[in-house]
């Protein structure tokens, strides 16, 4: 099997890259471990940012203002050229989705509706009720169907084929046959999404959003970037941590502590309140809980009751549905119990605006990539935007790179990779250990939530690094996995956990090394941002025991770092 461009991942970034590359005239194959419409892009709720100026209070909004808000929100760690590109391309990219049929909500004049979101100077978040991701994902997949692009679904990519410093394809387990296959290509784009399942006991992310998509290139020598910056969403549903969109607060919802007080006034200006950026709101909620003003010591209330039945049913129907089904409460009548939950991986595969990485022929886009447009803290509504802007940019750029290139199938690299994966599969089956892989994953997730969470300190993080290393050793002695033939999910999850472990170690070592507080990385022992020393990106290079940490400069532009006040 040969494609000019192989795209791994069927969420918004992967689908949009596939469309861009296809439209540029090259042969595209999209490979995904789940069917594209099952991707976690579909779980995005609140909306996508673009300075369309449709909102009555947003007529003066501009891409420049969007870029400034994003850079300030990032605590000045984002690369300013990339942010400006994203903000400038946002309006046309959203309009294109609308032209493809995306069912956005509307104003009376027929234009796309927008709502206020955290850290934004104007209401610029375009939405379709609270199911924006679902609508965008399905719209994008519909365009893939229209183009009849090859989609290999339920093909689980486990390894890159690399020879002489060039990526020439991937090795994938075809779940439908239970056989490993090689897929050759002149370029590979990873669009594998986030890695929230590293924190599996408290994450908004899908089971599929593991660290493996980062770990596969990391193992092959590609650096990861800024992994210590993990976003905790302020409002995960108590217990299951299912996302309660920022749109709840955008539509006017309150956060209340156990005294019934809108406590955000104690942390930010009364003008901003609940719509401060996520890192600040998450810390505020956690502070309330830690200082005894939460409920049952672990949650606060997200109160929508004053919005009224009609507004809740019209603008937040999905939130109401989730509350009814998972919590048996109706937000029209009852406040929603919420706590912060792992939500987004700001870091990722080190790449530039074109998705280009240090490995020739290998590119990245979407949440698995780190361009970086989100820096130390992503603004709500910028993640869907990132996937479609950089999906398009990368797809186009890579198509240009491979166009006219002869079909270079490096059989050796592919076969070596194939043999290595078959060998790994066999060894896991004949393993003589005792350890349950899922106990290791649960222990890892506990370490990450407790020690590399919202508030961090040196003692905890040092302990976390050691514990992760111990878990990696335990992982070498697993109980055997079964040979089930088709759809061997135990093998799939065990492979994912291997990715989780190394992604976790990159997060922990990056966090331990960075002796400052910036965006989502907050240390109680170094609670100030230190630009002189730390206005730089972290690079993580894989070594089995100790990841190597280096740094590289942030691309600055017209915005000088300032104190981040809201």
């Amino acid at each position: 099997m040969f494609y000019d461009v192989i795209i791994v991942g069927g969420g918004l970034a992967g689908l949009r890259a596939a469309i861009a590359a296809f439209d540029a005239g090259v042969k595209v194959g999209l490979v995904s471990k789940i069917h594209p419409v099952r991707s976690h892009s579909g779980a995005a709720q609140g909306g996508v940012n673009a300075a369309l100026g449709n909102h009555p209070d947003g007529h003066d909004d501009t891409p420049e203002r969007h870029a400034y808000d994003t850079i300030k929100g990032s605590d000045f760690l984002a690369d300013q050229d990339a942010v400006e590109l994203m903000a400038n391309l946002a309006p046309e990219t959203i309009i294109e989705f609308e032209h493809w049929g995306c069912p956005f909500s509307r104003y009376e004049d027929g234009s796309i509706a927008q709502r206020p979101f955290g850290g934004a100077g104007f209401p610029r978040t375009c939405y379709g009720a609270d199911r924006t991701g679902l609508y965008m994902l399905h719209t994008c997949y519909e365009q893939v169907v229209k183009r009849n692009i090859d989609v290999l679904y339920e093909h689980f990519v486990t390894k890159l084929a690399v020879k002489n410093g060039r990526c020439t394809g991937v090795i994938a387990l075809n779940l439908h046959t239970g056989e490993f296959e090689t897929i050759a290509g002149n370029a590979v784009i990873f669009a594998t999404g986030g890695s929230g399942r590293v924190y599996s006991i408290n994450t908004t992310n899908a089971h599929a959003s593991t660290g493996l998509g980062l770990a596969i290139p990391y193992w092959a020598g590609v650096a990861l970037k800024d992994m210590e910056f993990i976003q905790f969403h302020p409002t995960g549903l108590e217990g299951s941590s299912i996302l309660m969109t920022e749109g709840c607060r955008g539509e006017g919802g309150y956060l209340l502590n156990n005294r019934g007080e809108r406590f955000m006034k104690n942390y930010v200006s009364e003008k901003i309140m609940e719509l401060a950026p996520r890192d600040i709101v998450a810390r505020s909620i956690q502070t309330e809980i830690n200082e005894g003003r939460g409920f049952e010591d672990h949650y606060v209330h997200l109160d929508l009751r004053h919005l009224g039945e009609q507004k809740i049913k019209e603008k937040l129907p999905g939130i109401r549905e989730i509350c009814l089904k998972f919590k048996n409460i109706d937000p029209i009548k009852t406040p929603i119990p919420i706590h912060p939950a792992n939500h987004y991986t700001m870091g990722g595969i080190d790449c530039d605006k074109n998705g280009e990485t240090s490995l020739e022929g290998f590119y990245a886009a979407g949440e698995c990539a780190c361009v970086s447009v989100h820096g130390a803290n992503r603004l709500g509504g910028n993640s869907l935007l990132d996937t479609i802007v950089f999906g398009t940019q990368t797809g186009k750029y890579v198509a240009g790179m491979v166009k006219g290139m002869s079909q270079t199938v490096d059989t050796d690299a592919l076969n070596d990779g194939l043999d290595a994966e078959k060998d790994r599969y066999r060894k896991l089956q004949s393993s003589e250990g005792k350890a349950n892989p899922y106990d290791i994953r649960n222990a890892l997730s506990k370490v990450m939530n407790e020690k590399i969470g919202i508030f961090r300190n040196e003692t905890d993080m040092k302990a976390a690094v050691n514990e992760i290393k111990m878990l990696k050793i335990k992982f070498e002695n697993l109980r055997p996995i079964p040979n089930t033939g088709k759809f061997n999910y135990d093998f799939l999850w065990v492979t994912e956990i291997a990715g989780n472990l190394d992604a976790a170690l990159a997060i922990a070592t990056g966090a331990l090394n960075r002796t400052e507080s910036r965006g989502a990385h907050y240390r109680i022992d170094y609670n100030k941002r230190l630009d002189d020393e730390w206005l730089k990106h972290t690079l993580h290079t894989y070594h089995p025991s100790n990841p190597e940490i280096t740094y590289k400069p942030v691309t600055m532009g017209k915005y000088e770092p300032e104190e981040r006040k809201y």
């Binding site: 419409v37 493809w100 234009s111 599929a208 088709k486 759809f487």
Partner: protein, 239 residues
């Protein structure tokens, strides 16, 4: 502690399908999907089932749960009895355990041209669509393609040419979109005995839809629209 009676089948082996019992310690708020994960992770790593978002939006974990089609992730264990029977979706080939072959399901979805075919060439701004026009799509665009309706539909089970409730609902989603310009072609495609006229109006799809959508109603609406198009000479079909 409820017992899960779970359908097991591997067509590559000579054993016929069977049910296997697993005892799962439950807790408050536990979902059927969590119970299946408990089995996979602690009792039996050979169990095969699809899942991803665990919040009712990706559509992976549709199955037959104690007599009803639905999503495992949003079904509370506490809402069921002490003996809970889990089976795969019907009418599709079982690949292994709860994993069925969805290729025919997606082929039918693709057959209806599930993408906007715009009435007008796009300009620099969005197509204008009023809130009222958009509201017509409310009960149509929330489909997550989980195939609960498909598994529940007896016509799907007896006629492989039938387009199915999911594809017909999707056809109406585009016909009812003020921006789409392909209504007559779309109606012609569904107004025949492999499409809307094959529906026996049994309402199973409406009953099981985890998103409270109404494929039966959508098919009824398509019938009315086809009739009107036929009467006004816009529909060229003999179906």
């Amino acid at each position: 502690m409820p017992t899960f009676k779970v359908f097991r089948y591997n067509p590559d082996k000579s054993d016929p399908p069977y049910f296997q019992d697993y005892e799962v310690p439950d807790h408050k708020g536990m979902t059927v999907l969590e119970a299946l994960y408990y089995i996979l992770e602690n009792l039996d790593p050979t169990l095969a089932f699809r899942s991803s978002c665990r919040m009712g939006v990706c559509g992976s974990c549709a199955m037959h749960i104690d007599g009803q089609y639905g999503l495992a992730c949003e079904t509370q264990v506490a809402s069921l009895g002490n003996k809970i029977t889990i089976r795969p979706l019907a009418h599709m080939k079982v690949i292994r355990d709860m994993v069925v072959d969805l290729d025919p399901f997606f082929a039918q979805y693709e057959a209806i041209k599930p993408y906007l075919i715009p009435q007008n060439a796009p300009g620099p701004r969005e197509y204008a669509q009023t809130p009222r026009e958009r509201k017509k799509l409310d009960i149509l665009v929330d489909c997550i393609l989980c195939a609960s309706c498909y598994g529940s539909c007896p016509v799907v089970g007896t006629d492989e040419k039938y387009l199915g409730p999911h594809a017909l609902l999707k056809a109406l989603r585009f016909i009812d979109d003020s921006r789409d310009g392909n209504t007559n072609e779309r109606l012609a495609f569904v107004a025949n005995d492999a499409g809307i006229f094959r529906c026996h109006t049994i309402f199973n799809c409406q009953q099981v839809c985890p998103k409270d959508l109404d494929p039966t109603g959508a098919i009824g609406k398509l019938k009315m629209k086809s009739l009107w198009a036929k009467l006004t000479g816009k529909l060229k079909t003999t179906g």
